[in-house]
C-alpha cells in the first residue's frame, strides 16, 4: 500500500479538543506527523490588553477547562509581582490547597480520558466518579465547578468555608484508597502495559531541547518541578517530592501522574497542618506601575507562565501566555514517528492534551 496522509481531526475521538493531526502512514506505521493547531484560538492576549487587570481573572480561568484554578492563579501571581503586593500567608496556603485539589481533578480528567483512548471505558467512568469528589470540594470553596474565578490579585475571593478541612481530608483519605484501585485496574492489566510500555519514548535531552515541561518531562527522567526549583506561594514550607520516572514512555508518564496525585494528597494534608490564621486578602491598587513582571507556576500540564507589562494605566499593556501544551503539542511529530496508527491515541493521550490553553 502506498503512503497516505490521514487527517485525524479537527473532529476526531482521539483529539481531546479541536486540533488536527496530519499523519502520513505507510500501512499502519507512521512515517511523518504534524499537529495543526489554532482551531480554538480566541485571541486571549489581545483581549487581555483591553480589559482592566481584575477583569482578566475570569478570562484566564477559561484558558483550560481542566485546570482553571491554575490559570487564574498564574495570572494573579503575575499581577501581584507587577503591582509588588505580598500575599498574606493564609491566602498562600489556601491557594496551595486549591491548586493541589485542582491538580488531582485535572489528572483524574486525564486518566479518565486515557481509558477510552486505549479502549477501556471503565477507566473513564471510575476516574470521573472520583473527580466528582474534588469538584464538590472546589464547589464548596468557590461556588462553581469548572471555572472558579477564586484567586484575586492580592489574595482570594473568600476564606475557607466552615468544615472544609474535614471534608477535604475525608475526600483525600478516600481517594488515596481509590488510587490503589486504579493501579490495580491499569497497572494490573497486561494489555495496558503492552500498549504503553516502550511506546512514545521521549528522551530526556530531546524533551529539554524541545521545551517540554511538566509530567511529560519528568516522565523522561528530568527532575524539574517549579514548585520545588522556583517555589511560589507556600510550596517552600511544604513537604513533597516531585514524581520522576526515567523510562520516558507512555507508561512512565502515566506513573508520574499517578505519583503526582499521591503527592498532591500529601501536600493537601501538610498544608492543612501548617495553615496559619490571618487575612486572606490584601487590597490591590487599580493602576499598575510602568514595569513588567511574570508569574511562573507548575500547571498540571507543565510550566505555565504569564508575562504582564504595565504602562501606568488600569489595563495591561501586553500579556504573554506561555502555555505548556502548545510546546508539547508542537513536538508531536517527534513523539509519533515510527510508531503505529494504533499508538496515536496512546501517545497523544499520554501527554494530556488541553486545547484551550494551547490555542489561547
Amino acid at each position: 500500500m502506498a503512503e497516505m496522509v490521514i487527517n485525524m481531526g479537527p473532529q476526531h475521538p482521539m483529539g481531546h479538543g479541536l486540533w488536527n493531526l496530519k499523519v502520513r502512514v505507510d500501512g499502519e506505521t507512521i512515517v511523518w506527523a504534524e499537529a495543526e493547531l489554532g482551531y480554538l484560538h480566541r485571541g486571549y492576549e489581545k483581549i487581555m490588553e483591553n480589559k482592566q487587570y481584575v477583569m482578566n481573572i475570569p478570562l484566564a480561568d477559561r484558558l483550560c477547562y481542566a485546570a482553571a484554578m491554575s490559570w487564574s492563579h498564574v495570572y494573579c501571581l503575575a499581577c501581584e509581582h507587577l503591582f509588588g503586593i505580598a500575599v498574606p500567608p493564609r491566602a498562600q496556603y489556601i491557594r496551595v490547597i486549591a491548586l493541589e485539589i485542582q491538580r488531582i481533578a485535572s489528572h483524574l480528567m486525564w486518566l479518565g480520558a486515557y481509558g477510552p483512548d486505549l479502549g477501556a471505558l471503565t477507566g473513564f467512568l471510575y476516574a470521573m466518579r472520583e473527580r466528582e469528589l474534588f469538584l464538590d470540594l472546589l464547589e464548596s470553596l468557590t461556588g462553581s465547578r469548572l471555572t472558579y474565578t477564586y484567586t484575586r490579585i492580592g489574595g482570594l475571593a473568600n476564606d475557607l468555608p466552615p468544615d472544609f478541612e474535614r471534608e477535604a481530608l475525608k475526600a483525600v483519605a478516600y481517594f488515596e484508597k481509590k488510587l490503589n484501585d486504579y493501579e490495580r485496574f491499569f497497572d494490573g492489566s497486561k494489555i495496558f502495559r503492552m500498549r504503553t510500555e516502550g511506546v512514545g519514548i521521549l528522551r530526556k535531552e530531546e524533551a529539554i531541547a524541545a521545551g517540554i515541561t511538566g509530567p511529560n518531562l519528568r516522565g523522561s527522567g528530568a527532575n524539574l518541578d517549579i514548585r520545588k526549583d522556583l517555589p511560589y506561594e507556600a510550596y517552600e514550607e511544604l513537604d513533597f517530592e516531585p514524581a520522576v520516572e526515567t523510562a520516558g514512555d507512555c507508561y512512565a508518564r502515566y506513573r508520574v501522574r499517578i505519583k503526582e496525585m499521591r503527592e498532591s494528597c500529601r501536600l493537601i494534608r501538610d498544608a492543612f497542618k501548617k495553615i496559619p490564621a490571618g487575612d486572606y486578602r490584601v487590597r490591590s491598587p487599580r493602576r499598575a506601575p510602568k514595569r513588567d513582571a511574570y508569574g511562573r507556576v507548575e500547571d498540571p500540564r507543565g510550566e505555565a507562565m504569564i508575562y504582564v507589562v504595565g504602562d501606568g494605566s488600569d489595563q495591561p499593556y501586553r500579556v504573554k501566555i506561555r502555555s505548556p501544551m502548545f510546546i508539547t503539542m508542537s513536538n508531536c511529530g517527534m513523539l509519533l514517528k515510527g510508531y503505529k496508527v494504533a499508538d496515536v491515541p496512546a501517545i497523544m493521550g499520554s501527554i494530556d492534551v488541553c486545547m484551550g490553553e494551547a490555542d489561547k
Partner: protein, 382 residues
Amino acid sequence: MALFGIDTGWSSLYDFSEGVAKWIIGILSWIVGGLGDNLPWVFGDFLHWSDGIIRSDLHLALVAITVESVVLLLIATANLLTFIWIERKLLARMMDRRGPMYVGALGYLQQIADGLKLFLKEYIVPEKADRLGFDAAPVVLSAAAFFIIGVVPIAPGLGLTYQGSYASATVLLAFAAFAVPPFAVLIAGWSANNKYTLIGGMRAAALMMSYEIPMLLAVASVVVLAGGFDFVTIVEAQQASIWFAAPLFIGFVVFLICIVAELERIPFDLPEAEAELVEGWTTEYSGMRFGMIMAIDYLRGYIGCLLATLLFLGGWDGPAILPDWGWTLLKAYFLWVVFVWMRASLPRVRTDQILHIGWKRLLPLAMLNLLVAVVLVSLGWV
C-alpha cells in the same frame, strides 16, 4: 419435544413446522381449488394444475422449512435482544452506572426503541463510495449470520432440519459461514472510500488471517474427539463421556479468545477501534444499515457463545431440572457474561500485538491441544 415442561407432541421443530405448513397449504388449496371449480375452462384448468403443485410434497417441504426458518429467526432475535440488554446492563453496572432504565422493565425494550430511532434516520451513502460494495456488505454480513442460525441446533430437533434430520457436517457449514463476515468488512472498508474504513477493513482481514487458524484447530480437536462433523454427534459424544472443556481445556481457552477476536470485541476490536479510527470500517454507515451492523455484531456474539457451548460445554447436557434448550441457552448466556466482563476490564490490543498473540501464542497452543486430542483418541479414551 417438550416446551416449558409441557409435552407438545412434536418430535422436532420440523414436525411443528410441517403442521403449520399443512394448515397454510390447506387454506391456499381451498382458495385456489375452490376458484378452479367455479371458473370457466382455461382458468379452471390452470388453477387446478396450480392446486396440484401447492399440494405436492416438495411444496410442503419448502413451506415447512420456511416456517422453521421464521421460528428460528424469532428465537434468535429474542436472544439477540436479551444479549444486547445483558451487555448494556451488566457493562453499566460494572462501570458504576445504571444503563437503560426507562423503556420497558429494567430498560429491556430500549434496544427496540434504539432500533426504531435508527430506522427513521436517513441512510447516507458517501458520494464517491462504491455503491454496490457499500450496500452489499451489510447484507452479506447478515446473511452469513442468519445462515449459521439454521445449522446450529439449540436442542436436538430445535434447528433447521428436514424431517427431523440435520444437514451433514453442520460444524463445517457453521464455521465456513462464520468466516465470511471479515470479507464483507473488507469490502465495506474498501468501498466506503474513506481512509479510516480502509484501515479498519485491512485490520479485519489481518485479524481473520491470524485467528481463523487457531480457532479451526481447536474445533478440529473437538471433531477428532467426538468423531463426527455435526453438532448433534459432538454433543452426544460429550453426553456419553464428559464435556470437552475438561480434556481440551487449552483448546477451550484458545477457542474463546479466538471467538472474541472473531466477534471484534474488546480487547480485540481493532477493526472498529473508535479511539484512532473513529468507528473503523462502520464509520460511513448510517441509519438502519448501521443498526443492522450493530445488531449483527450481537447476533454473531450469540452464535459464538452457542458454538462454544455446543463444542466444549456439552450443549444441552445437564440435569433434567431445565429443558434441554434451557441448558444450551444458560451456558451461552454464561459465556456472554464472561465476554461482557472482559470488555469492562480490558483495554484494546494493538495491531501488531494481536498478530503476535495469534501466531506465536494461540497457534502453538492450538497445535498442542490437537495433539492432546489425538493422543486421547489413540489411547482409546473415548
